[in-house]
Symmetry: C2
Subunit: 375 residues, 2 copies
């Protein structure tokens, strides 16, 4: 229980000194907006029942006192009465608590390739399905490192969609609910050849970009074709450390991406490095194949290219990459707003067949929270 | 054909004066990066075959001349040779052309409610399905105004999903592939009561937010329950016009949204007004029910509340709203990153049943472009 040592207030502010000497200074309007009474909040689902415009323009604090360990605030001019549990105020007030942000670089574990020299984050699919604890650990790996490898996944066509259904929802695209990664005649995308592919994220031309990608290996008997993963958030941090102006050039200048074939014409205007209001990385994009004509203003072009090249050069540094060969029955699940993937070229002899699909981060994070609350 | 009047170059820049006296000054690295030759671009799908790091660090222009109406650029130090069609350069160079941005307020037609006093953007569903021109016009209405009404949509359960399949892909969520909007016992969301709902956008607690929402009316025999739509981009513009500091407070301070029930716990940290690199609105969010505890720093709190209240007050102005009653067989399709919706309370007698579903903007815009190219 959070004990209050001292309390004072005026019309606009309630000041609390807590037993541990920390202080909260809370605005009248914030207190009224965060009233936890049944008339203000639906007690079942926690949804706010009032609109900010329902609060009188000249809202003030009339009186504050204690009643049965509750802090009772009476507001002027409407006489509204709110009871606050001191524990709730201590744990939720804006003076002592920060917002949560699961997507920002600050809440992730950034990594170099060597971090996984001993082992990749990995989970057996049967355990993933049967044990909440295994599944939770696997989803936490996606949240923290941006990827996990599932193994012993049945080598059946369409299985990748069943895996998504265990934690979220399939994001169907113009490629279908799932896409086949193997050598094709007349490929509409270089992914469907046996060429190597540089580090990239998928679908930057799509807005919103799918937040998760799964690649399930059904067959792999070629020479080569190794998978490469790397932490795009780490690459962005390296860029910022080495040259803050380059980081700023890539986050402050948005560019066009495009993919076009007979049945789709997808266009976006987005940054290579997307930051939040605190200039923290929340999303990266990189795909040399699908950057459309760059039409930044002339001054920005001069500033952009050295930054873009610098970032691309960082992405090629072997120490940032982890390299492994996906075996039949293995599936990699990765955050497509963070973890870049690449593949080495592979031989024409033998066969290689992956099935891929997209999903979104909201479903995975929600499943993770529900699991964490239950274990 | 774009004729070149004058041409000059040095190691780093190609300068072109066009017949209409406009000028292009093109950097060597941009020219090399935009080489259109088969070795640099896949001629079938237009994908770039080179990485920015494949370009020599000291790339320069060695020589420029004409060959069969092509501008031939030879680069140092590697001797790479690029042929450019002058028309292509004129239409694509960054000096004379801007980036496209379908999502920004600048490419939309912003509206007040009176704009639709005569008629709402509307399309008969049979024509939508059978005539490319009708479908194109309807999708353009979504792009330009943010919404369209389809009528004569078969009153069959699940039809809303079939409508999505005509232009894009269903975004399934924890509410299911579709959701039923009618009065429920023990609702997990106020939408499933007969209470009025203030202007809001759906699912701000979801990241990425679904870009499109469809509401299909299957039954409506209650008193009340009218639908209200309003242009959130216009509301943001009004806010900026009336008080730029308030606009800045809402775009520069991201906040938490949350929805929680037994099976889902969705959290986001996003702004009420999302802007691009040019400070143009690209997305708005508003949902008083699902704003989580606001934990901005104390200084930001003082700046935020007046702005938030001002914006909410603008959203309630009747002149910004269009009001109509959705009839059975009508479906509204609207941009959930722009157009806010609300509903009036309705009577307990009679019945009201809508089916809703979500989709994403990328699929709709892609279909629109393919249709426009073919008509």
């Amino acid at each position: 229980m959070s004990r209050i040592r001292e309390l004072s207030y005026d019309d606009q502010e309630l000041a609390i000194t807590w037993e541990n000497a920390s202080e909260s200074h809370l605005q009248a309007i914030w207190l009224r907006d965060h009233c936890q009474m049944p008339a203000s909040r639906n007690p079942d689902n926690g949804q706010r029942l009032l609109n900010i415009t329902d609060i009188p323009l000249d809202i003030g604090i009339e009186k504050v006192n204690f009643d049965n360990d509750k802090l009772v605030v009476e507001f002027s001019p409407d006489g509204h009465r709110s009871e606050f549990d001191p524990d709730w105020l201590y744990q939720n007030c804006y003076c002592l608590n920060h917002q949560y942000d699961d997507r920002s670089e600050t809440s992730k574990i950034l990594w170099h390739g060597l971090a996984f020299a001993q082992a990749l984050p990995r989970c057996a699919y049967p355990a993933f399905c049967e044990q909440a604890r295994s599944k939770l650990a696997a989803l936490q790996a996606v949240r923290d490192y941006g990827f996990v490898l599932l193994d012993s996944v049945p080598c059946e066509s369409g299985q990748v969609l069943k895996v998504i259904e265990t934690f979220g929802f399939v994001r169907a695209t113009n490629y279908g609910p799932l896409f086949e990664v193997r050598v094709r005649i007349d490929p509409n995308n270089l992914a469907y050849t046996n060429l190597g592919l540089g580090c990239h994220l998928d679908n930057p031309y799509r807005d919103p970009v799918p937040g998760l990608q799964l690649l399930h290996c059904l067959d792999s008997s070629t020479q080569g074709g190794e998978s490469i993963l790397q932490d795009g958030f780490m690459a962005a941090r390296v860029l910022r450390d080495e040259n803050p102006d380059h980081f700023a050039a890539l986050s402050q200048n948005w560019i066009n991406f495009r993919f076009r074939d007979d049945s789709a014409d997808l266009q976006s205007r987005v940054p290579l490095i997307e930051v939040n209001d605190r200039d923290e990385v929340v999303k990266v994009r990189f795909n040399n194949r699908s950057i459309d004509t760059i039409k930044l203003p002339p001054d920005a072009i001069k500033r952009y290219y050295p930054a873009y090249r610098h970032y691309a050069e960082i992405l090629e540094r072997p120490e940032l990459q982890v390299v492994f060969k996906l075996q039949p029955g293995e599936l990699m699940l990765f955050d497509n707003t963070r973890v870049m993937h690449a593949r080495k070229a592979y031989s024409a002899s033998g066969s290689r067949h992956l099935q891929g699909a997209y999903s979104d981060l909201d479903g995975l994070y929600s499943s993770l929270r529900i699991l964490a609350a239950g274990t």
